[in-house]
């Protein structure tokens, strides 16, 4: 396996990151602004800074086709940044929320985006032509706590959301005039706005950090703070799901996850490395880390001379330099995203975290 591509952007946490379709632009949420990095040869160079929020930016997403960037922040606002020849122009979105906006993602159709918030609502935002304005509709019921994450179904109507009330839910975000009527599927047949297609809670009930639909959209996975991931296979409207499989791990909790095909999930979080899960409706299991531990320069195979050992003990009180983690990321990974893939399988994925690094991995 080829070594991952590591770029250390700055010494500051990265709340979220997103690549443009051509992978030449990388947007990272840093503090109260979003920084745009351009690819230059083997590295990334800062080329623009989107300043518009006055509190911590919590999430950023680049629409792959239109190139529009949406950002949201703890200042309760979301901004849509339109690319123009003179740079990016922000437009304020009417979210109508009274708590921080926590998470934002474009729908695959790029006609809408969903904003999760601490006000226990999800704002589904779409562009209203006659007013020339981004407006929002709220999904309220039955969310009982902060929405920490959202993920879109490939049909751009269904939306999965994870919340600190430990539930992962699937909603319909159908908006007349914006969406075409979805095909009936495993999640339900009639899908008016705010239909609750599923509500899932696992036994140990950690608050949910990440949700994701499988590439076909027929299965849902979520990771929660009880160090588990749960995979749900639904069984049509009003029916109990075919299978709800919960995998409790010995590890620290996962913050983010992606599907690789229908039978593999890659998740990463507080353990600072990515882990692979494999399985199907019959059962899932953790199969291992994606980190190759014996990387050169990281191993402790280096022979120490006795002189050096005593010198180190004298200087630092210890013989080994253990201030570095053995993982590529040196702190919690908060976002994992597909970088390159086709037809639902992932060839490369990118991770960012609290350590200010972006790493591009081979799946």
């Amino acid at each position: 396996m080829a070594a991952p591509e590591v770029h250390h952007l700055f010494h500051h946490p990265i709340a979220d990151h997103s690549f443009s379709a051509d992978k030449q632009t990388l947007a990272v949420a840093r503090d109260t602004s979003v920084e745009l990095y351009g690819r230059t040869g083997s590295g990334f160079k800062l080329k623009d800074e989107l300043k518009g929020h006055d509190k911590t930016v919590t999430s950023v997403d680049i629409a792959l086709q239109s190139g529009r960037i949406v950002t949201c922040s703890q200042d309760r606002n979301a901004l849509v940044w339109e690319p123009s020849p003179t740079g990016y122009k922000p437009t304020l979105v009417l979210l109508r929320i009274n708590r921080a906006a926590t998470f934002v993602r474009w729908s695959p159709s790029e006609m809408k985006f969903a904003v999760g918030s601490g006000a226990r609502v999800i704002a589904i935002c779409y562009f209203e032509e006659e007013n020339d304005w981004w407006v929002s509709k709220h999904i309220k019921k039955p969310i009982r706590s902060t929405v920490t994450t959202v993920a879109w179904h490939p049909n751009s109507v269904l939306l999965a959301a994870g919340s600190t009330d430990a539930h992962a839910r699937v909603f319909s975000s159908f908006i007349k005039g914006v969406d075409s009527r979805p095909e009936p599927g495993v999640w339900g047949e009639r899908l008016p706005f705010n239909t609750v297609c599923g509500e899932y809670l696992n036994n140990s009930a950690g608050w949910v950090h990440a949700v994701s639909f499988s590439p076909s959209g027929d299965a849902l996975a979520f990771a929660s703070h009880d160090s588990s991931i749960t995979v749900v296979y639904p069984n049509g409207a009003e029916q109990p799901p075919r299978a709800v499989l919960s995998i409790n791990t010995q590890l620290l909790p996962f913050m983010s996850l992606i599907w690789n095909g229908e039978s593999e999930i890659i998740a990463a979080g507080y353990d600072c490395e990515a882990f692979r899960f494999q399985g199907n409706e019959g059962g899932w299991q953790l199969t291992g880390s994606l980190e190759s531990k014996g990387r050169p320069g990281m191993g402790d195979a280096r022979e120490e001379s006795a002189f050096n050992m005593f010198k180190q003990m004298d200087l630092k009180g210890k013989t080994k330099d253990d201030t570095q983690l053995k993982t590529v990321h040196q702190n919690t990974i908060s976002t994992i995203r597909v970088y390159e893939g086709a037809g639902g399988t992932v060839r490369k994925f990118s991770t960012t975290g609290v350590d200010g690094r972006i790493v591009i991995w081979n799946a």
Binding site: R120, R144, S145, D165, A166, H167, L201, N203, S204, A205, G206, W207, S224, H225, D226, S227, S228, N248, T249, Q250, L251, L252, P253
Partner: protein
């Protein structure tokens, strides 16, 4: 002077940032019963908990410590009231105290690898924390008096901690060594699950 006082009093009273707005909002998340978020547990009565305790002790006397431990962990009374939970905690603690330190790790590994074993160890972890909380609260009244503030700024322990309560100190050391062994086998994830789980023991 008096005007200044009035003004500052007024601003203190009007300090809207300190108002708990959640208490005023009927739709607020702090105004609903969190127990409605998860399915209710079947109630467990006092006598049922005692019965389970008897069965577990019987297994223990028969020399099947592993069976006793598993039995106790799998019959945790989530739906019982405080008294029932206390009875079961007694049962679990007894089992834990009767297992030798050298048997802990192999036994935990066998349980972990068996069907539903990771779940059982999560329950064990919950009882370890509950046991530690219980034995530390019973000591708190005496703790204040054993601390004597020194002029140097350091506090010195007067007498050994828990000296008056020898058995609770011993119980704590058993729980601590179990905790270490459970973390070795079930990982830190199990500590996290103790905190998130709604099925309180």
């Amino acid at each position: 002077m008096s005007i200044i006082q009035q003004v500052s009093n007024a601003t203190l009273n009007d300090n809207w940032r300190t108002i708990n707005i959640d208490a005023l909002d009927p739709e607020s998340s702090s105004n609903f019963d969190t127990s409605t978020l998860h399915p209710a547990f079947a109630p467990v009565s006092d006598s049922e908990a005692r019965n389970i305790g008897q069965q577990v002790r019987q297994l223990l006397r028969g020399g099947d410590a592993e069976g006793a431990l598993r039995g106790a962990l799998e019959s945790a009374p989530y739906g019982g009231d405080v008294a029932v939970k206390e009875i079961h905690l007694q049962t679990v603690t007894e089992v834990l105290q009767s297992i030798k330190a050298s048997e802990m790790t192999p036994m935990l590994q066998r349980i972990f690898q068996s069907e539903g074993g990771s779940e059982a160890l999560d329950v064990l972890m919950k009882y370890l924390y509950k046991g530690m909380a219980a034995s530390s609260t019973s000591k708190t009244p005496t703790r204040g008096s054993t601390l004597t503030p020194q002029s140097t700024g350091f506090s010195q322990m007067g007498g050994r901690p828990g000296a008056g309560n020898e058995s609770s100190g011993a119980a704590m050391s058993v729980l601590l060594s179990w905790h270490e062994k459970v973390v070795e086998v079930a990982g830190l994830g199990s500590v996290g699950r103790c905190m998130t789980d709604w099925r309180k023991v």
